[in-house]
Protein backbone atom coordinates (compact mmCIF):
# COMPACT_ATOMS: atom_id res chain seq x y z
CA UNK A 1 0.00 0.00 0.00
CA UNK A 2 1.69 3.20 -1.16
CA UNK A 3 0.79 6.75 -0.27
CA UNK A 4 1.51 9.73 -2.49
CA UNK A 5 1.22 13.36 -1.34
CA UNK A 6 -1.13 15.27 -3.61
CA UNK A 7 -1.25 18.56 -1.72
CA UNK A 8 0.94 19.81 1.14
CA UNK A 9 -0.02 22.41 3.71
CA UNK A 10 1.30 25.29 1.58
CA UNK A 11 -0.77 24.13 -1.44
CA UNK A 12 -3.86 23.85 0.73
CA UNK A 13 -3.38 27.35 2.12
CA UNK A 14 -3.15 28.80 -1.39
CA UNK A 15 -6.22 26.84 -2.47
CA UNK A 16 -8.22 28.02 0.55
CA UNK A 17 -7.40 31.65 -0.29
CA UNK A 18 -8.41 31.10 -3.90
CA UNK A 19 -11.70 29.46 -2.90
CA UNK A 20 -12.42 32.33 -0.49
CA UNK A 21 -11.83 34.87 -3.27
CA UNK A 22 -14.06 32.94 -5.68
CA UNK A 23 -16.84 32.92 -3.07
CA UNK A 24 -16.50 36.66 -2.50
CA UNK A 25 -16.73 37.28 -6.27
CA UNK A 26 -20.14 35.64 -6.35
CA UNK A 27 -21.52 36.49 -2.92
CA UNK A 28 -20.10 39.97 -2.11
CA UNK A 29 -20.76 40.61 1.60
CA UNK A 30 -22.57 37.28 2.19
CA UNK A 31 -25.67 39.09 3.51
CA UNK A 32 -27.95 36.68 1.65
CA UNK A 33 -25.65 33.65 1.68
CA UNK A 34 -25.19 30.81 4.15
CA UNK A 35 -22.42 28.23 4.25
CA UNK A 36 -23.33 24.64 5.14
CA UNK A 37 -20.55 22.21 6.08
CA UNK A 38 -21.39 18.53 5.69
CA UNK A 39 -20.82 16.42 8.81
CA UNK A 40 -18.43 14.97 9.66
CA UNK A 41 -15.55 15.68 7.26
CA UNK A 42 -16.76 18.75 5.42
CA UNK A 43 -16.94 20.74 8.64
CA UNK A 44 -13.16 21.21 8.87
CA UNK A 45 -13.04 22.84 5.45
CA UNK A 46 -16.16 24.90 6.24
CA UNK A 47 -14.69 26.14 9.54
CA UNK A 48 -11.37 26.97 7.89
CA UNK A 49 -13.00 28.93 5.06
CA UNK A 50 -15.26 30.78 7.50
CA UNK A 51 -12.28 31.83 9.62
CA UNK A 52 -10.41 32.94 6.53
CA UNK A 53 -13.33 34.98 5.17
CA UNK A 54 -13.83 36.65 8.55
CA UNK A 55 -10.25 37.34 9.53
CA UNK A 56 -8.45 37.92 6.22
CA UNK A 57 -11.21 39.29 4.04
CA UNK A 58 -13.27 41.20 6.64
CA UNK A 59 -16.61 39.51 6.03
CA UNK A 60 -18.63 40.29 9.16
CA UNK A 61 -21.98 38.50 9.18
CA UNK A 62 -21.13 35.06 7.96
CA UNK A 63 -23.62 32.33 8.74
CA UNK A 64 -22.24 28.80 9.01
CA UNK A 65 -24.33 25.69 9.64
CA UNK A 66 -23.37 22.04 10.00
CA UNK A 67 -25.57 19.44 8.37
CA UNK A 68 -25.70 15.73 9.13
CA UNK A 69 -27.05 13.62 6.28
CA UNK A 70 -27.13 10.17 7.93
CA UNK A 71 -30.94 9.90 7.92
CA UNK A 72 -31.10 10.91 4.24
CA UNK A 73 -28.56 8.47 2.83
CA UNK A 74 -29.67 5.95 0.22
CA UNK A 75 -27.49 3.13 1.58
CA UNK A 76 -29.31 2.70 4.91
CA UNK A 77 -29.51 -1.09 5.60
CA UNK A 78 -27.30 -1.77 2.56
CA UNK A 79 -24.02 -1.43 4.38
CA UNK A 80 -22.27 -3.99 6.55
CA UNK A 81 -21.45 -1.53 9.30
CA UNK A 82 -24.24 0.64 10.71
CA UNK A 83 -24.15 4.39 10.19
CA UNK A 84 -23.68 6.62 13.21
CA UNK A 85 -25.30 10.02 13.10
CA UNK A 86 -23.56 13.26 14.05
CA UNK A 87 -25.23 16.47 15.05
CA UNK A 88 -26.87 19.06 12.84
CA UNK A 89 -26.43 22.69 13.88
CA UNK A 90 -28.38 25.07 11.71
CA UNK A 91 -29.88 27.82 13.86
CA UNK A 92 -31.21 29.93 10.99
CA UNK A 93 -33.78 29.47 8.22
CA UNK A 94 -32.46 29.10 4.70
CA UNK A 95 -35.67 30.30 3.05
CA UNK A 96 -34.72 32.42 -0.03
CA UNK A 97 -31.01 32.28 0.90
CA UNK A 98 -28.13 31.33 -1.35
CA UNK A 99 -26.67 28.14 0.08
CA UNK A 100 -23.10 26.93 -0.42
CA UNK A 101 -22.68 23.28 0.54
CA UNK A 102 -19.10 22.48 1.56
CA UNK A 103 -17.50 19.03 1.59
CA UNK A 104 -13.93 17.76 1.41
CA UNK A 105 -14.05 15.13 -1.38
CA UNK A 106 -16.65 14.78 -4.14
CA UNK A 107 -16.69 11.15 -5.24
CA UNK A 108 -19.95 9.39 -6.26
CA UNK A 109 -22.14 12.41 -5.55
CA UNK A 110 -24.47 10.39 -3.31
CA UNK A 111 -23.64 12.38 -0.16
CA UNK A 112 -24.44 15.58 -2.00
CA UNK A 113 -27.72 14.08 -3.25
CA UNK A 114 -28.59 13.31 0.39
CA UNK A 115 -27.55 16.82 1.44
CA UNK A 116 -29.79 18.37 -1.23
CA UNK A 117 -32.75 16.47 0.24
CA UNK A 118 -31.78 17.20 3.84
CA UNK A 119 -31.40 20.93 3.26
CA UNK A 120 -35.05 21.18 2.18
CA UNK A 121 -36.08 20.55 5.80
CA UNK A 122 -34.82 24.02 6.61
CA UNK A 123 -36.69 25.93 3.91
CA UNK A 124 -36.59 26.62 0.17
CA UNK A 125 -33.28 28.22 -0.75
CA UNK A 126 -32.92 30.64 -3.67
CA UNK A 127 -30.14 28.49 -5.07
CA UNK A 128 -27.59 25.93 -3.93
CA UNK A 129 -23.92 25.76 -4.90
CA UNK A 130 -21.31 23.15 -4.12
CA UNK A 131 -17.75 23.73 -2.96
CA UNK A 132 -15.28 20.86 -2.58
CA UNK A 133 -11.57 20.63 -1.89
CA UNK A 134 -11.03 17.58 -4.09
CA UNK A 135 -13.15 16.70 -7.11
CA UNK A 136 -12.64 13.09 -8.18
CA UNK A 137 -13.58 13.19 -11.82
CA UNK A 138 -14.82 10.05 -13.63
CA UNK A 139 -16.22 8.45 -10.47
CA UNK A 140 -19.67 10.03 -10.35
CA UNK A 141 -22.84 7.96 -9.97
CA UNK A 142 -25.11 10.99 -10.29
CA UNK A 143 -25.20 14.14 -12.43
CA UNK A 144 -23.68 16.39 -9.75
CA UNK A 145 -20.76 18.80 -10.35
CA UNK A 146 -19.06 21.32 -8.05
CA UNK A 147 -19.26 25.10 -8.57
CA UNK A 148 -15.97 25.64 -6.73
CA UNK A 149 -13.20 23.07 -6.50
CA UNK A 150 -9.77 23.11 -4.93
CA UNK A 151 -8.16 20.47 -7.13
CA UNK A 152 -9.43 18.03 -9.70
CA UNK A 153 -8.09 14.49 -9.42
CA UNK A 154 -8.25 11.69 -11.96
CA UNK A 155 -7.94 8.93 -9.39
CA UNK A 156 -9.12 5.48 -10.39
CA UNK A 157 -11.64 3.60 -8.25
CA UNK A 158 -9.01 1.43 -6.54
CA UNK A 159 -7.29 4.54 -5.23
CA UNK A 160 -8.39 6.38 -2.14
CA UNK A 161 -8.10 10.11 -1.51
CA UNK A 162 -7.28 10.95 2.11
CA UNK A 163 -7.64 14.47 3.48
CA UNK A 164 -5.95 15.22 6.78
CA UNK A 165 -6.49 18.43 8.72
CA UNK A 166 -4.35 20.14 11.33
CA UNK A 167 -7.24 19.91 13.78
CA UNK A 168 -7.27 16.10 13.82
CA UNK A 169 -4.04 14.86 12.20
CA UNK A 170 -1.56 17.60 13.17
CA UNK A 171 -0.97 18.67 9.58
CA UNK A 172 -2.85 19.77 6.48
CA UNK A 173 -2.32 17.42 3.54
CA UNK A 174 -4.08 15.43 0.84
CA UNK A 175 -2.81 11.97 -0.09
CA UNK A 176 -3.65 9.40 -2.72
CA UNK A 177 -3.43 5.87 -1.44
CA UNK A 178 -3.31 2.64 -3.47
CA UNK A 179 -5.65 0.06 -1.96
Amino acid sequence: MSKKTLLNSKDIEIILHRLACELIENHNDFSNTVLIGLQPRGTFLANRLTALLKNEYGIKDLKLGLLDITFYRDDFRRRDSPLAATSTKIDFLIEDKKVVIIDDVLFSGRSIRAALTAIQSFGRPENIELLVLIDRRFSRHLPIQPNYKGRQVDAINEEKVLVSWKETHKKDAVYIEQK
Binding site: F71, Y72, F76, T86, S87, T88, A118, S121, F122, G123
Partner: protein
Protein backbone atom coordinates in the same frame (compact mmCIF):
# COMPACT_ATOMS: atom_id res chain seq x y z
CA UNK B 1 -20.99 0.03 19.20
CA UNK B 2 -23.56 1.35 16.79
CA UNK B 3 -25.99 -1.54 16.80
CA UNK B 4 -28.44 -2.81 19.40
CA UNK B 5 -27.54 -6.10 21.07
CA UNK B 6 -31.16 -7.28 20.73
CA UNK B 7 -33.27 -8.16 17.70
CA UNK B 8 -36.57 -7.02 19.19
CA UNK B 9 -37.52 -4.56 21.92
CA UNK B 10 -39.49 -6.85 24.20
CA UNK B 11 -38.55 -5.44 27.56
CA UNK B 12 -35.90 -3.40 29.33
CA UNK B 13 -34.63 -6.51 31.11
CA UNK B 14 -33.16 -7.78 27.82
CA UNK B 15 -31.17 -4.58 27.19
CA UNK B 16 -27.62 -3.65 28.14
CA UNK B 17 -26.43 -0.23 29.32
CA UNK B 18 -24.75 0.30 25.96
CA UNK B 19 -28.11 -0.24 24.21
CA UNK B 20 -29.74 2.47 26.30
CA UNK B 21 -26.82 4.84 25.61
CA UNK B 22 -27.13 4.17 21.86
CA UNK B 23 -30.90 4.73 21.90
CA UNK B 24 -30.48 8.03 23.78
CA UNK B 25 -27.68 9.23 21.50
CA UNK B 26 -29.82 8.49 18.45
CA UNK B 27 -32.87 10.09 20.09
CA UNK B 28 -30.85 13.31 20.59
CA UNK B 29 -30.48 13.56 16.81
CA UNK B 30 -34.16 12.84 16.22
CA UNK B 31 -35.15 15.43 18.80
CA UNK B 32 -33.30 17.97 16.68
CA UNK B 33 -35.10 16.65 13.58
CA UNK B 34 -38.60 17.00 15.11
CA UNK B 35 -37.89 20.61 15.99
CA UNK B 36 -37.09 21.55 12.39
CA UNK B 37 -39.57 23.37 10.15
CA UNK B 38 -39.97 20.10 8.20
CA UNK B 39 -39.95 17.26 10.70
CA UNK B 40 -39.50 14.26 8.46
CA UNK B 41 -36.54 12.16 7.31
CA UNK B 42 -36.66 9.55 4.51
CA UNK B 43 -34.70 6.77 6.28
CA UNK B 44 -37.47 4.13 6.47
CA UNK B 45 -39.02 4.68 3.02
CA UNK B 46 -39.15 0.97 2.24
CA UNK B 47 -40.22 -0.29 5.68
CA UNK B 48 -43.80 -1.16 6.62
CA UNK B 49 -44.88 -1.13 10.24
CA UNK B 50 -48.06 -2.58 11.74
CA UNK B 51 -49.37 -1.12 14.97
CA UNK B 52 -51.38 -3.85 16.68
CA UNK B 53 -53.25 -2.58 19.71
CA UNK B 54 -55.21 -5.32 21.43
CA UNK B 55 -55.70 -2.96 24.38
CA UNK B 56 -56.84 0.64 24.35
CA UNK B 57 -54.28 3.37 23.98
CA UNK B 58 -54.26 6.93 22.76
CA UNK B 59 -50.94 8.48 23.73
CA UNK B 60 -48.66 5.51 22.99
CA UNK B 61 -50.42 4.70 19.72
CA UNK B 62 -50.28 8.30 18.49
CA UNK B 63 -46.67 8.63 19.58
CA UNK B 64 -45.62 5.46 17.75
CA UNK B 65 -47.59 6.42 14.66
CA UNK B 66 -46.05 9.88 14.57
CA UNK B 67 -42.56 8.44 15.08
CA UNK B 68 -43.10 5.99 12.21
CA UNK B 69 -44.43 8.68 9.89
CA UNK B 70 -41.59 11.07 10.73
CA UNK B 71 -39.22 8.30 9.59
CA UNK B 72 -41.24 7.92 6.34
CA UNK B 73 -42.32 4.33 7.05
CA UNK B 74 -45.62 2.99 5.73
CA UNK B 75 -47.99 2.44 8.62
CA UNK B 76 -51.00 0.19 9.10
CA UNK B 77 -53.12 0.33 12.23
CA UNK B 78 -55.17 -2.30 13.90
CA UNK B 79 -57.38 -2.16 16.97
CA UNK B 80 -58.72 -5.33 18.52
CA UNK B 81 -62.16 -3.79 18.97
CA UNK B 82 -62.72 -3.74 15.19
CA UNK B 83 -61.07 -7.04 14.32
CA UNK B 84 -61.53 -10.75 13.81
CA UNK B 85 -60.02 -11.39 17.24
CA UNK B 86 -63.59 -11.12 18.47
CA UNK B 87 -64.53 -13.85 15.98
CA UNK B 88 -62.12 -16.28 17.66
CA UNK B 89 -58.90 -15.88 15.68
CA UNK B 90 -55.65 -16.69 17.54
CA UNK B 91 -52.86 -14.14 18.01
CA UNK B 92 -50.41 -15.97 15.72
CA UNK B 93 -53.03 -16.28 12.97
CA UNK B 94 -53.93 -12.62 13.23
CA UNK B 95 -50.30 -11.54 13.06
CA UNK B 96 -49.31 -13.99 10.31
CA UNK B 97 -52.18 -12.70 8.19
CA UNK B 98 -50.89 -9.18 8.63
CA UNK B 99 -47.31 -10.26 7.94
CA UNK B 100 -48.25 -11.90 4.66
CA UNK B 101 -48.97 -8.35 3.53
CA UNK B 102 -45.15 -7.86 3.84
CA UNK B 103 -44.81 -6.07 7.16
CA UNK B 104 -41.29 -5.60 8.58
CA UNK B 105 -41.93 -4.37 12.12
CA UNK B 106 -44.81 -5.06 14.50
CA UNK B 107 -45.56 -2.69 17.37
CA UNK B 108 -47.87 -4.53 19.75
CA UNK B 109 -49.82 -3.80 22.90
CA UNK B 110 -51.53 -6.80 24.42
CA UNK B 111 -53.33 -7.53 27.68
CA UNK B 112 -51.41 -10.74 28.29
CA UNK B 113 -47.99 -10.82 29.92
CA UNK B 114 -45.30 -12.10 27.55
CA UNK B 115 -47.37 -11.67 24.37
CA UNK B 116 -44.43 -9.92 22.67
CA UNK B 117 -41.92 -12.64 23.61
CA UNK B 118 -44.33 -15.31 22.39
CA UNK B 119 -44.84 -13.55 19.07
CA UNK B 120 -41.11 -12.97 18.53
CA UNK B 121 -40.58 -16.73 18.63
CA UNK B 122 -43.24 -17.52 16.06
CA UNK B 123 -43.29 -14.79 13.45
CA UNK B 124 -40.72 -13.34 11.13
CA UNK B 125 -40.71 -9.63 11.96
CA UNK B 126 -39.13 -7.22 14.41
CA UNK B 127 -41.35 -6.91 17.50
CA UNK B 128 -41.61 -3.79 19.63
CA UNK B 129 -43.52 -4.26 22.86
CA UNK B 130 -45.84 -1.30 23.46
CA UNK B 131 -47.07 -2.77 26.74
CA UNK B 132 -47.89 -6.36 27.68
CA UNK B 133 -50.36 -6.67 30.54
CA UNK B 134 -48.83 -5.74 33.88
CA UNK B 135 -45.35 -6.78 32.70
CA UNK B 136 -43.29 -4.27 30.69
CA UNK B 137 -43.68 -1.06 28.71
CA UNK B 138 -40.09 -0.51 27.54
CA UNK B 139 -40.48 2.61 25.39
CA UNK B 140 -42.23 4.43 28.25
CA UNK B 141 -39.34 3.61 30.60
CA UNK B 142 -36.83 4.73 27.99
CA UNK B 143 -38.55 8.06 27.44
CA UNK B 144 -38.87 8.56 31.22
CA UNK B 145 -35.12 8.01 31.69
CA UNK B 146 -34.40 10.19 28.66
CA UNK B 147 -36.49 12.98 30.20
CA UNK B 148 -34.66 12.66 33.54
CA UNK B 149 -31.31 12.75 31.72
CA UNK B 150 -32.42 15.85 29.82
CA UNK B 151 -33.62 17.64 32.97
CA UNK B 152 -30.90 16.62 35.45
CA UNK B 153 -27.94 15.88 33.16
CA UNK B 154 -27.75 12.17 33.95
CA UNK B 155 -29.66 9.32 35.54
CA UNK B 156 -26.68 7.81 37.35
CA UNK B 157 -26.74 8.30 41.11
CA UNK B 158 -30.16 10.00 41.10
CA UNK B 159 -32.89 9.02 43.55
CA UNK B 160 -36.10 8.18 41.78
CA UNK B 161 -39.41 7.56 43.53
CA UNK B 162 -42.29 5.76 41.86
CA UNK B 163 -45.60 6.56 43.57
CA UNK B 164 -48.96 4.84 43.18
CA UNK B 165 -50.31 1.57 41.85
CA UNK B 166 -47.10 -0.43 41.46
CA UNK B 167 -48.88 -3.79 41.42
CA UNK B 168 -50.72 -3.25 38.13
CA UNK B 169 -48.12 -1.06 36.47
CA UNK B 170 -45.96 -2.17 33.57
CA UNK B 171 -44.51 1.34 33.56
CA UNK B 172 -43.20 0.80 37.10
CA UNK B 173 -41.47 -2.51 36.31
CA UNK B 174 -39.82 -1.25 33.10
CA UNK B 175 -38.77 1.93 34.89
CA UNK B 176 -37.20 -0.04 37.75
CA UNK B 177 -35.14 -2.11 35.28
CA UNK B 178 -34.14 0.92 33.20
CA UNK B 179 -33.21 3.15 36.13
CA UNK B 180 -31.19 0.48 37.91
CA UNK B 181 -29.36 -0.37 34.69
CA UNK B 182 -28.28 3.26 34.48
CA UNK B 183 -27.15 3.38 38.11
CA UNK B 184 -30.06 5.19 39.78
CA UNK B 185 -31.58 4.34 43.18
CA UNK B 186 -35.25 3.43 43.06
CA UNK B 187 -37.87 3.55 45.82
CA UNK B 188 -41.57 2.82 45.50
CA UNK B 189 -44.41 4.31 47.52
CA UNK B 190 -48.09 3.40 47.68
CA UNK B 191 -50.71 1.50 49.67
CA UNK B 192 -49.30 -1.86 50.86
CA UNK B 193 -52.01 -3.65 48.88
CA UNK B 194 -50.75 -2.07 45.64
CA UNK B 195 -47.06 -2.91 46.18
CA UNK B 196 -46.04 -6.37 44.87
CA UNK B 197 -45.02 -8.70 47.69
CA UNK B 198 -41.55 -9.54 46.40
CA UNK B 199 -40.61 -6.15 44.95
CA UNK B 200 -37.64 -5.81 47.36
CA UNK B 201 -36.02 -8.77 45.59
CA UNK B 202 -35.45 -6.39 42.66
CA UNK B 203 -33.32 -4.19 44.90
CA UNK B 204 -36.08 -1.63 45.35
CA UNK B 205 -36.92 -0.05 48.70
CA UNK B 206 -40.51 0.39 49.86
CA UNK B 207 -41.77 3.43 51.74
CA UNK B 208 -45.42 3.81 52.76
CA UNK B 209 -45.14 7.38 54.01
CA UNK B 210 -45.43 9.75 51.04
CA UNK B 211 -43.84 12.73 52.81
CA UNK B 212 -40.74 10.76 53.84
CA UNK B 213 -40.44 9.28 50.37
CA UNK B 214 -40.67 12.68 48.67
CA UNK B 215 -38.03 14.10 51.02
CA UNK B 216 -35.66 11.32 49.90
CA UNK B 217 -36.05 11.64 46.13
CA UNK B 218 -34.81 13.89 43.29
CA UNK B 219 -37.58 12.81 40.93
CA UNK B 220 -41.10 11.52 41.65
CA UNK B 221 -42.77 9.51 38.89
CA UNK B 222 -46.48 9.47 39.73
CA UNK B 223 -48.64 6.62 38.45
CA UNK B 224 -52.38 6.36 37.98
CA UNK B 225 -54.54 3.94 39.94
CA UNK B 226 -55.54 1.33 37.36
CA UNK B 227 -59.16 0.69 38.33
CA UNK B 228 -59.73 -1.35 35.16
CA UNK B 229 -57.23 -4.01 36.27
CA UNK B 230 -58.61 -4.31 39.81
CA UNK B 231 -60.81 -7.32 40.40
CA UNK B 232 -61.13 -6.67 44.14
CA UNK B 233 -61.04 -3.54 46.32
CA UNK B 234 -57.44 -2.62 47.19
CA UNK B 235 -58.15 0.51 49.25
CA UNK B 236 -61.26 1.88 51.00
CA UNK B 237 -62.00 4.90 48.81
CA UNK B 238 -60.47 7.18 46.18
CA UNK B 239 -60.78 10.04 48.67
CA UNK B 240 -58.67 8.19 51.22
CA UNK B 241 -56.10 7.31 48.53
CA UNK B 242 -55.82 10.98 47.58
CA UNK B 243 -55.38 12.04 51.21
CA UNK B 244 -52.54 9.57 51.80
CA UNK B 245 -50.82 9.32 48.38
CA UNK B 246 -52.04 12.30 46.35
CA UNK B 247 -49.37 14.88 45.49
CA UNK B 248 -50.39 18.51 46.00
CA UNK B 249 -48.61 21.84 46.03
CA UNK B 250 -48.62 22.11 49.81
CA UNK B 251 -46.69 18.89 50.33
CA UNK B 252 -44.14 19.86 47.64
CA UNK B 253 -43.65 23.39 49.04
CA UNK B 254 -42.89 21.98 52.50
CA UNK B 255 -40.09 19.71 51.26
CA UNK B 256 -37.26 22.22 51.46
CA UNK B 257 -36.06 21.26 47.97
CA UNK B 258 -37.46 21.24 44.46
CA UNK B 259 -38.06 17.83 43.04
CA UNK B 260 -39.01 16.94 39.46
CA UNK B 261 -42.54 15.59 38.89
CA UNK B 262 -43.28 13.07 36.14
CA UNK B 263 -46.41 11.20 35.07
CA UNK B 264 -46.75 8.73 32.19
CA UNK B 265 -50.41 9.66 31.68
CA UNK B 266 -53.33 9.46 31.55
CA UNK B 267 -53.63 11.75 34.57
CA UNK B 268 -56.56 11.51 36.94
CA UNK B 269 -56.45 15.12 38.04
CA UNK B 270 -57.28 15.57 41.69
CA UNK B 271 -56.64 11.89 42.51
CA UNK B 272 -52.92 11.02 42.37
CA UNK B 273 -51.83 14.55 41.47
CA UNK B 274 -53.52 17.97 41.65
CA UNK B 275 -53.87 20.18 38.58
CA UNK B 276 -51.71 22.81 40.25
CA UNK B 277 -48.78 20.37 40.47
CA UNK B 278 -49.33 18.75 37.05
CA UNK B 279 -49.26 22.16 35.35
CA UNK B 280 -46.44 23.65 37.46
CA UNK B 281 -42.88 24.30 36.29
CA UNK B 282 -41.68 21.39 38.45
CA UNK B 283 -43.58 19.01 36.20
CA UNK B 284 -41.96 17.65 33.00
CA UNK B 285 -45.07 15.75 31.91
CA UNK B 286 -45.33 17.43 28.51
CA UNK B 287 -41.58 17.08 27.90
CA UNK B 288 -42.08 13.34 28.43
CA UNK B 289 -44.65 13.30 25.61
CA UNK B 290 -42.35 15.21 23.23
CA UNK B 291 -39.39 12.99 24.10
CA UNK B 292 -41.59 9.93 23.53
CA UNK B 293 -41.66 10.59 19.80
CA UNK B 294 -37.87 11.07 19.58
CA UNK B 295 -37.12 7.96 21.66
CA UNK B 296 -39.55 5.82 19.64
CA UNK B 297 -38.01 7.10 16.40
CA UNK B 298 -34.61 6.01 17.72
CA UNK B 299 -35.83 2.53 18.69
CA UNK B 300 -37.55 1.96 15.34
CA UNK B 301 -34.58 3.35 13.38
CA UNK B 302 -32.07 1.16 15.22
CA UNK B 303 -34.17 -2.01 14.81
CA UNK B 304 -34.83 -1.23 11.12
CA UNK B 305 -31.09 -0.92 10.61
CA UNK B 306 -30.81 -4.67 11.27
CA UNK B 307 -33.28 -5.62 8.53
CA UNK B 308 -31.47 -6.95 5.47
CA UNK B 309 -33.21 -7.46 2.15
Amino acid sequence: MDQLSVEHLLGIKYLKTTDIDLIFKTADHFKEVINRPIKKVPSLRDITIANLFFENSTRTKLSFELAEKRLSADVINFSASQSSVKKGETLIDTVNNILSMKVDIVVMRHGNVGAGVFLSKHVNAKIINAGDGTHEHPTQALLDSYSIREKLGSVKGKKILIVGDILHSRVALSNIFALQLQGAQVKVCGPTTLIPKYITSLGVEVENNLKKALEWCDVANVLRVQHERMDIKYFPSTREYTQLFGINKEILDNLGKRIVIMHPGPINRGVEITSEVADSDQSIILNQVENGVAVRMAVIYLLAQQIKR
